[in-house]
Assembly symmetry: C2
Homo-oligomer: 290 residues x 2
């Protein structure tokens, strides 16, 4: 290994590849009932949250992931009133949801510790969205919550850990069936679905599972530097609307009316995100609804 000096934090996506960051300091390292939670401060990306060793978010590049997780679906929906976020304990997705005129955003995070630590250390990411009066924070697992909840949603966002290990249930057909039943007739679901390069099987499986339940299913992409391989997939299921076919003028009008300010997302990027490299199209059996 290299002779670099100082404190470093390395995330290994598998046995053969890692990304390594020089640290200013380690802030927190503790075990919750669910996972190992680490907060570090890096030179390159500011503060960074890791769960079981996997980077979840960083101050410097969180805007890419969160904007692309939230805005394509919410600008597709003409009137999104009620939004559910499963996971997302750092508050970055919640913050972007609340930029839209939703009446209610419910965040269901399994691990109270993640929310608590994010409130203390990552307020630059959540921008105090937890305190917004339209936000409700519930500590529970998303699947159980959704089974109990009777009132329907316009959008369900799954902002969980990767589609491997303990989060697998959130990428299952059973979960998507439950989500389908919990959505209004114009409803959509969007989930982060892992690294296109390092988790291609999981991306494919997520897409196929979702496509079995939702009439329209899409994979779309964004480049997030702290995520391994950077090219990151999102999978979107829709009952009625077709996100890449909504005229850009309609989305633009909504963006202006809702006063959405972004640093990565824009209307050309939205459309471009649905253009998939040939190897990925082939992996999805060219059945991407786009």
């Amino acid at each position: 290994m290299p002779e670099k000096k100082g404190l470093w934090q390395t995330e290994y996506i598998n046995t053969d590849y890692g990304q390594t960051y020089r640290l200013k300091r380690k802030i927190v390292s503790e075990k919750s009932p669910y996972q190992k939670i680490e907060l570090v401060e890096t030179f390159e990306f500011g503060k960074m949250l890791l769960l079981d060793g996997a980077v979840q978010t960083s101050e410097k590049d969180e805007f890419i992931y969160h904007e692309m997780l939230v805005h394509p679906a919410l600008l597709t929906h003409p009137k999104p009133n009620r939004v559910l976020i499963i996971g997302g304990g750092d508050g970055g997705a919640l913050r972007r949801v609340l930029e839209h005129p939703v009446e209610e955003a419910i965040l269901v995070e399994m691990d109270q510790k993640v929310v608590e630590l994010s409130k203390v250390y990552l307020s630059s990411i959540s921008n105090y969205a937890f305190d917004n009066k339209r936000a409700t924070i519930i500590i529970d697992d998303g699947f159980s919550f959704l089974k109990r909840e009777k009132k329907k949603f316009d959008l369900i966002i799954v902002d969980s850990t990767d589609p491997v290990g303990k989060a697998t249930v959130l990428f299952s057909k059973d979960f998507y069936q439950l989500a389908f039943s919990s959505l209004n007739e114009e409803g959509m679901i969007v989930t982060q679905s892992g690294s296109v390069f390092y988790q291609l099987d999981e991306v494919r499986q997520t897409f196929f599972n979702l496509k079995k339940i939702f009439p329209y299913a899409y994979v779309y992409l964004a480049s997030v530097p702290t995520y391994p391989g950077s090219l990151w997939s999102f999978t979107l299921g829709s009952k009625l609307h077709l996100p890449p076919l909504i005229p850009l003028s309609v989305k633009k009008e909504r963006m202006i009316k809702r006063k959405i300010k972004t640093r990565y997302y824009n209307l050309e990027v939205d459309l471009a995100a649905f253009a998939l490299p040939t190897f990925l199209k082939e992996a999805l059996g060219e059945t991407n609804s786009s």
Copy 2:
């Protein structure tokens, strides 16, 4: 640093961030008159070429970089006969150029050792393009070659190391002026221009330099996992044609007629590559010709 076992190779893009690869073996490590050349075999990416510690190409992901460096410009040009590649000693760009019906492809690589080692160890990347009778290999520096060369080109491809250090001259206004004079009236130049996340200043400088000389200038993007930050920039200058405005049907016809087979590039990806994230548009002063 981590307790991972075995042999690892780490590339540091700066003092604060690196990518690390587990190695099957080190193949070659030697100094040429110009640089340190390393060939390693990784578990994740197959064989990999490094110059002065920076990953240049790998067997597993070279197709992304090379397809995106070559095809957007060559499918924009109605009749590309004569192409110059500066750098590109691994042969991957040359191979893609020769997939088009060009009459002559001249590769000018400064470092003979890179060509020699690539011929021996990276034939899966060049696919024996060096032996193609339409290819000419010249060992020289690109700037000097272009000053001497009288016959004009339809396309100049700069496949050099990053726009820092010794390759800087290939990103200068002087070089772009020389390139402009060396191109036919439908001519284009395309250059790799570094990491959007880690070398944003260099991307911007390259674009501004090129835009001062060429009437049309564009930055476009592709995601190459072994390049730091993955989201990689290419800068294209054009005298007459506007690559993102060529109808997809025209490019499609050319692609079929020329029997171009790809694994990353396709027509939607070509168009999408010119859609830039907001922070990048702002860095370029929103003056991207697209």
